[in-house]
C-alpha cells in the first residue's frame, strides 16, 4: 500500500475500501452503532495523522484492523467505567422487538432474521477476546497469523480463543438454529 501520511487521495481510497469492514468489525465487537462510528472516525483520523503510520512490514489491512482494535478496546473499556448506565439492556430489548417483527415476513426472511438475532446475542455473550478473534476470523476472513498481529497475541492463543468461542457458540446456537442446508 502506497499510502503516505497526509496523502489525501490515498486516504480517500483507503476510506472507500475499508470504511465498511472496519465499521462492521467495530459494530460486532462493541455491540452498538454509536461506538462503532466512533471507532471508524478514530481510525481515519489516526490514518491522516503522523502519529500512526502504517508499518511497511505488515499488510495494510492488518494494520488498519489493529488500529481499529486498539480504539475499540479503549472505547469499550472507557464505556464500561463511565456511561454504561445509558446502555443497559438496550441491545436486549432491540432484539426482542426484532423477533416480534417477523410475523409478516416471508418465512425464509423471517427465519433468517431470527437467526441473525440469535447469532448476535450469542456473539454478544462471548468474552471480548474470544469475540474479537471469532469476528475477525468469520466475518473478515483474517488468517490466524493476521489475527495474532491485530490482537497482539500469540498464534497459539488465537487458536484457543477461536476454539473456545466456537465451543460456546455451539452450546448456545446449535439447539436454536433451524435446520439449514448442510
Amino acid at each position: 500500500m502506497k499510502l503516505q501520511a497526509g496523502d489525501a487521495a490515498a486516504i480517500e481510497e483507503v476510506f472507500a475500501q475499508y470504511k465498511k469492514p472496519l465499521f462492521n468489525y467495530a459494530l460486532r465487537v462493541a455491540g452498538n452503532r454509536a461506538d462503532a462510528e466512533d471507532v471508524v472516525s478514530e481510525v481515519f483520523l489516526a490514518l491522516s495523522s503522523h502519529k500512526y503510520s502504517p508499518r511497511p512490514d505488515i499488510k495494510f489491512s492488518t494494520w488498519a484492523y489493529a488500529v481499529a482494535h486498539n480504539f475499540a478496546i479503549s472505547i469499550i473499556r472507557k464505556r464500561k467505567t463511565t456511561v454504561s448506565f445509558w446502555f443497559q439492556n438496550q441491545d436486549d430489548e432491540t432484539e426482542e422487538l426484532q423477533i416480534a417483527d417477523t410475523s409478516n415476513l416471508p418465512n425464509a426472511v423471517a427465519q433468517e432474521r431470527e437467526n441473525a438475532v440469535l447469532v448476535k446475542r450469542a456473539i454478544g455473550h462471548l468474552n471480548l477476546a474470544q469475540k474479537e478473534a471469532i469476528i475477525l476470523r468469520e466475518y473478515h476472513s483474517l488468517s490466524y497469523d493476521e489475527i495474532s498481529q491485530v490482537m497482539n497475541i500469540t498464534l497459539e492463543k488465537v487458536k484457543i480463543l477461536i476454539f473456545r468461542a466456537r465451543e460456546q457458540l455451539k452450546k448456545e446456537l446449535l439447539s436454536f438454529l433451524r435446520e439449514e442446508l448442510p
Binding site: 462492521n24 471508524v40 439492556n89 422487538l97 417483527d101 409478516n104 476470523r137
Partner: protein
Amino acid sequence: MIEHKKIQELISSYVDGEVSGQEKTLVEEHIKNCSMCMKQYNQLKRISHSLKSWPDENISPDLEQKIQKNLLDKKEREGSIMRNNKRWASIASTVTIVLVLLFSAQLYTKRGIQGRLELAQITPNTVSIMKGTQGVLRSATDNIGGQYSPQLAFNQNKSLSRSTEPELLSKNYPISNGIARSEHGTNVFFGGRSDITRDAGGYQSYSSSESLYPHPNYYVPAYPAYPEQNTEGYDNIQDNGFLEAQNNPLSTFSIDVDTASYSNIRRFITNNQLPPADAVRIEEMINYFEYDYPQPTDEHPFSVNTEISACPWNTQHNLVLIGLQGKEIPTNNLPPSNLVFLIDVSGSMANANKLPLVQQAMALLVERLRPQDRVAIVVYAGTSGLVLNSTSGAEKSTILNAVYSLRAGGSTAGAAGIQLAYRVAEENFVQDANNRVILATDGDFNVGVSNDIELVKIIEEKRNKGIFLTILGFGSGNYKDSKMEKLADKGNGNYAYVDTLAEAKKVFVDDLTSTLYTIAKDVKLQIEFNPAQVKAYRLIGYENRLLNKEDFNDDKKDAGELGAGHTVTALYEIVLSGSGENFPTVDPLKYQETVTRPSNDLLTVKLRYKNPKEDASKLLSKTLTKDALGEKGVSDNFQFASAVAEFGLLLRNSPHKANASFEQVLQRARAAIGEDPQGYRLEFAALVEKARIIKNNLPIIIPYQLENNVDHLNLPDHYQRYEK
C-alpha cells in the same frame, strides 16, 4: 480424553485451514474413524455458516461525510500551517481530534438518549406509568364537569389493536409532538416520578379550555407484541330439525360439491384441536369422498341412486341416502381450458401452508395441462397485477417460472384482483371451453372494495358470460371460510380447502375433471315425502343450501354445479309412520282438507338441472318404495357416508346426534374402506381416531396415516424436494 480435546481444537483450526500438513493428516485420519469428532467437524461448519446470517450493516452517510470533512479540514490546515510551524500543526490536529471527539460524543449522547427514549416508550414499565397517567387524567377531566369524551378511550382501543411494527410506533408520535414527547420521556426516564399531572397533556386539560382533551397521539401506550389473534370467520350453522311430513311434504335444496369443510376439519384435528362447530358442514364432509354409484346410462348426465336402512345412531329411525353420479369424461375428450389464476400474495399468505403450497399445487396442475389449455396468472396484494399473460399449456417452464417467482407481501385488495382476473379471462375467452378464474387465497379482502355484495355482483355477472369461479382456500388463523363459500357458490364454481400437498393433488390431479369441468349447472333436488309412510324427516347438512319449495321450478334461481365424475350424496334421517315420537305440528287447516293417496312409496326424488350452456332446466325423478326397507345388508356407500355424517354430528355436537359415537364411526368407516385407491377413507379413519383421542383427552399418539399422508402421493422427483 486429552486426545479428543486436542483433536477438537485442531478441528477448529482445520475448519479454517490453519493446520500444518502433519496436523491435517492427523485430523483427517481421526475424523474418518471417530464419529464424535466427525460430528464436531460438521457442527463447527454449521456454526460457521450460521454466523453469516448476521449481515453487515451500512455505515450511515452522515458519518461518512463528517469523517471526510474532518479529514479535508485537517489536510487544509496542515497544508497551510505545517510548512511554517510543525508545533502548530500538531496542536491543530489535537484540537481537531478533540473537537471531533466532542462532536461524536455529543452525537453519541444524543443517540443514546434517543434510543433510550424510544425504548422507554415500549417497556412494560412505561406502559404502567402511562396507564397511571390516564387514570389521573380521566378523573381530572371528569372533575371539570363530565366533559370527558370517549375520545380517550377510543385512542386507547386503537392502540391496543394496532400491530407491532416500529413504523407504526413512530407514526403515533408525529414530529410536531416532539417537545411533549421528550418531556414525557424524561419523566419516564428518571424513574417516572410522580409529577405526572404536570406533564403536557394533563396540564393542558386543566388550564386551557381549547384543548380539553389530551393530544390524541400523546397517550397512546405502546404495547409489546400481541399474540396473533385468530380471526377465522365461520357462518353460524343451525342443524336442520325434524319436519313433519304431513305439513312439510317437500324438502328442497341445492346440491353442494364443495369439499372445503372436510380438509379444514382435518387441519384442525391434525393440529390436535377439535374444529369449531360452525366449521363443520356435514354435506361437504360427505361429498369429500367419492362413492361408487353406477354411471348414468340414459340421456341425463348423471344417475340418481337411493338406498334406505336403519339409522346407525338412532335405531328408531331410518336413514335414506340419495346419491348422484356425474358422467365421467375421458381426459382427452375434455374441452380446452382458459384458466386465470388469481393468487393472493398479500403478507398473510407468506406462511408455508399458504403461498408455497399454492405454488406446489399449481405446479401439479401445470404438469397436467395440454397445449390447447391456457393459463394466466394475476396476483393481488396492495395492488393487483398480471404476472403471466395467457400462456399455452405447452410452455410449462414459462408457467412454472412465473409460479415460483411469486412472493408474498403487502395488504390485500381482493376486489381489484378479481376484476383484473375476469378481464384477462374475458380477453382470452374461448367458446365452448372451460373458462375459469381460480382464486387462491386465505380470504382476507381487507383493502379496497371489500364489500361482499359488490364482489358477488361482479362474480354473478361474469358467471352469466360463461366464466366460472373456483376458489381454493389456504392457510389458517385468518381464514374466511364463510366469505369464500359464498363467493364460489355465486360464481358457479366450487370451493376446496387445500391444507396439504396431498389435498392439492386431490383437487388438481385426481379430481381435476370434476373440479374444473361442469357437466350440469343449477342442480336442485326436491324430495316429496309420502305422509302415509313417513311421519317426519330431517335433512342432514346442506343447511346453507336449502331452497324454498317454489324455487325448484324457478329456472332463474341459482343452485349448485356438478362436475364431470362428481358424486353428490345427501342423507335424510326419517321417522316412519307408526312411530310413537311426536313432532311439533300445526292445527288442522280449517278450509282445506289434505287427502293422502294410498301408496307404498316412501318418497320421490325430483331433480332439476341445466346443461352448462342452456337456460331451461330438465327434470328427472326417482321413487323409493317401502320394499327397499326389506333389503338385507347395506352398501359400502351407505356405510361410509353414514359414518362420515355421524362423525360430523359428533363434531358439531348436534342436538340430533342421539347415540352417535366415535367407536361406531370408526367401526363402520373401517368396514367400508373398500378399494380406496387414494387412501382418503383410510385417512378418514385415522382422523376419527385422533378426534376421539382429543375429545376424550387421551394421550396423543399420532396415527401413522396422518403423519404420512404424503406417502400415497407418488409425486415425480422434482416435487418431492418441496416435501420435508
